[in-house]
């Protein structure tokens, strides 16, 4: 169901049974050509997503998570090289030009961005920003579109929707703007929603409201969602599966509970441990991940996390580990000496006994 390369046969439409599989990404790579060389922002990512499921994409800056979601949609600037395939319900998005893609954007696939202030047009009233896609994509007339817009605003829990339609974005609070953005994204009933750090710019009390809203909408519409975030807390409570990205690759992927219960990749473990927890007493020393993410122009030869990994051995530095299946169903990871295994434990002990200097602090 997840992350495995499968050979998918394309049967003619009439014969194909109704499949829940919505999105299939196969070995997607996105490289930016820059004067200094080729930046491998996304380097071989594969996963699949079914209707009604939420995939959490977790990573820090430079992990490639935002580039990945834009690359899948086809929203990248010119100097980009893409490889691999992106199949949305049997349509190969990676082979389409902008004109064809436009028929998908908004209607089938939508995206919600981080900063609601820049996602909304500051000089256009809210009402028009919602009705525009309705009239353009769904061919509604003005009155129908306005009725629909009112219903949409109500469905995202905006009080006094009638008044809001006539307001401008700057007259609304951050949380409300983000609701409007979600309303616009959902206006044409897309099957797949990318939410790129939708709550990072919002207060924590508003954040939980927005995340709950997304989840509710998703269930009602049987929509698939990719939730991109850096926050493991957000992912824990609001996703069905999680994929952890590092330096352009997926390094671990599992159903959410499985991931937190038995993570294998040392990066995932280190990430979790470096977060201050409410449960810890004050002044608890935090476990840090030494060093900095690798330069995407020239990634390390072996495992990309090896320079910072407390478990790293020589093999890690020479040979890049492939995605392997773990014992639990649907769990894959990329590591030679994973956490929680005998191999891994020995490797860790070996390293602790003969300390190797870690990278310079970031």
């Amino acid at each position: 169901m997840i992350g495995r390369r499968e050979h998918v046969t394309r049967a003619p439409d009439e014969l194909r049974p109704y499949s829940r599989r919505l999105l299939e990404v196969d070995d997607l790579a996105t490289h930016f050509t820059t004067p200094r060389g080729k930046v491998r922002a996304v380097d071989g990512v594969s996963f699949a997503l079914e209707r009604g499921r939420t995939l959490g994409l977790v990573g820090e800056s430079g992990s490639g998570k935002s580039v990945l979601s834009r690359s899948i949609m086809g929203l990248l600037p010119g100097n980009v090289e893409r490889q691999g395939s992106v199949a949305f319900e049997d349509h190969r998005l990676d082979q389409m030009g902008p004109a064809e893609l436009r028929s998908f954007w908004g209607t089938q696939i939508a995206m919600v961005f981080q900063d609601p202030m820049t996602s909304l047009n500051p000089v256009m009233r809210i009402g028009r920003q919602i009705t525009e896609p309705l009239r353009f994509h769904l061919g509604m007339d003005r009155r129908e579109a306005e009725k629909m817009a009112l219903a949409l605003l109500a469905s995202v829990n905006i009080p006094e929707p009638g008044r809001r339609l006539r307001q401008y974005p700057h007259e609304l609070s951050g949380g409300m703007r983000q609701r409007v953005v979600i309303a616009i994204a959902l206006a044409c009933g897309p099957k797949l929603l990318f939410a790129d750090e939708p709550t990072t710019a919002l207060d924590v009390t508003v954040q939980s409201q927005i995340l709950d809203l997304l989840r509710t909408q998703q269930r009602e519409r049987d929509m698939a969602m990719v939730l991109v975030t850096h926050d493991l807390g957000v992912v824990a409570g609001h996703t069905d599966e999680v994929a952890v990205m590092y330096a352009g690759q997926i390094v671990e992927q599992a159903p959410t509970r499985t991931l937190f219960a038995s993570m294998r990749m040392p990066y995932t473990a280190a990430l979790l441990q470096s977060i201050p927890r409410l449960a810890n007493a004050s002044h608890t020393r935090l476990d840090v991940i030494a060093g900095r993410p690798p330069d995407l122009l020239d990634p390390p030869r072996g495992c990309r996390f090896a320079p910072r990994c407390p478990y790293a051995q020589d093999r890690c530095r020479e040979e890049p580990p492939p995605l392997q299946e773990a014992d639990e169903p649907g769990h894959v990871y990329r590591c030679w000496f994973p956490v929680g295994t005998e191999r891994g434990q020995e490797a860790l002990e070996r390293n602790l006994a003969a300390p190797v200097p870690q990278g310079v602090d970031g």
Binding site: F32, T34, V39, G62, K65, S66, V67, L76, T200, L296
Partner: protein
């Protein structure tokens, strides 16, 4: 809020340090003009004011004169080189005036805001309202026309007249940039450690504002060169017989049918110089936008 992934962070980062071919050509031309202008007195040129009747209105190549002669038989090439001297001197001085005064006023307005800002912006608006050519015309006519007025005096008045208009232009650029840079937290940090306003303005803010002003200054020089041409056509440019590109054109106007090269040569010179300045102005500006971005 943690930094989100930028979509193409490295693509924006290190732009090529070297100029492209157009850039090199532009710099080459400008260097040529500047050096020729500086070295005019020591170059083996004919006297620009000495009419040699035989070459009057004769085209390029006549008798070893590279560009031929103008209406009065003076060596056109020599006049062109000396003209570069005057045009450049005038335009660079006017722009420097604009940078120094306009830059200072803009810096103060943008840094302190409040009353200073209102006052200086008002001043800029007033200065901008003067139609440049009419102002120059008036000033020159009143202060630097008539018998016994030296070319130096005319030059000074021209620098002033043309500089006055560049004050508000550069002032506004300085102000706009200062406003942005003053909002940056390193200015607040400087205040927090006890630095005085004066040292913050000139030590922290100004070095960041100057590059933007520099790129506009290059464009400004181009504008003034052309403006001088206009003034010459009105008869109030650099005072004859001292050549400037503008007044060579003005003089040559009457000979346009018989000796078009007289107008053509300085026009081409102006064209190339303005083109080079505009191009470099853009290059400088885009380079500076880039260097600031960090990881």
């Amino acid at each position: 809020m943690p930094e989100p992934d930028q979509v193409a962070p490295v693509a924006i980062r290190a732009r090529r340090r070297t100029l492209g071919v157009p850039g090199k050509l532009a710099v080459g031309w400008l260097l040529l003009v500047v050096i020729a202008a500086l070295l005019a007195p020591v170059l083996p040129l004919d006297d620009p004011n000495d009419p040699v009747g035989s070459i009057a209105r004769q085209g390029p190549g006549t008798d070893g004169h590279v560009l031929g002669g103008d209406g009065l038989g003076r060596d056109l090439f020599s006049r062109l080189v000396w003209g570069a001297r005057a045009s450049l001197l005038l335009s660079v001085s006017a722009v420097i005036l604009g940078i120094v005064i306009g830059g200072f006023l803009g810096l103060v307005a943008g840094y302190f805001r409040g009353r200073f800002d209102t006052l200086f912006v008002g001043l800029f608006d007033v200065l901008l309202s003067f139609p440049q050519l009419i102002l120059a015309l008036t000033l020159v006519t009143v202060l630097a026309t008539g018998e016994g007025v030296s070319s130096t005096r005319r030059m000074v008045v021209l620098v002033f007249a043309l500089g006055v208009v560049s004050i508000p232009v550069l002032g506004r650029i300085a102000r706009a940039n200062t406003l942005t840079w003053s909002q940056r937290e390193f200015v607040l940090a400087a205040r927090a450690m006890g630095a005085r306003h004066r040292s913050i303005m000139f030590g922290e803010v100004l070095p960041n504002v100057l590059p933007a002003m520099f790129s506009i200054a290059l464009l400004g020089i181009a504008v003034v060169i052309v403006a001088e041409g206009g003034l010459s056509l009105l008869g109030v440019g650099v005072r004859l017989p001292t050549p400037s590109w503008g007044n060579i054109i003005a003089e040559g106007r009457s000979e346009l049918r018989d000796a078009p090269h007289v107008v053509l040569a300085p026009t081409v010179a102006i064209f190339l110089t303005v083109l080079a300045l505009n191009y470099l102005g853009d290059v400088v500006r885009s380079r500076l936008d880039v260097r600031e971005s960090a990881l």
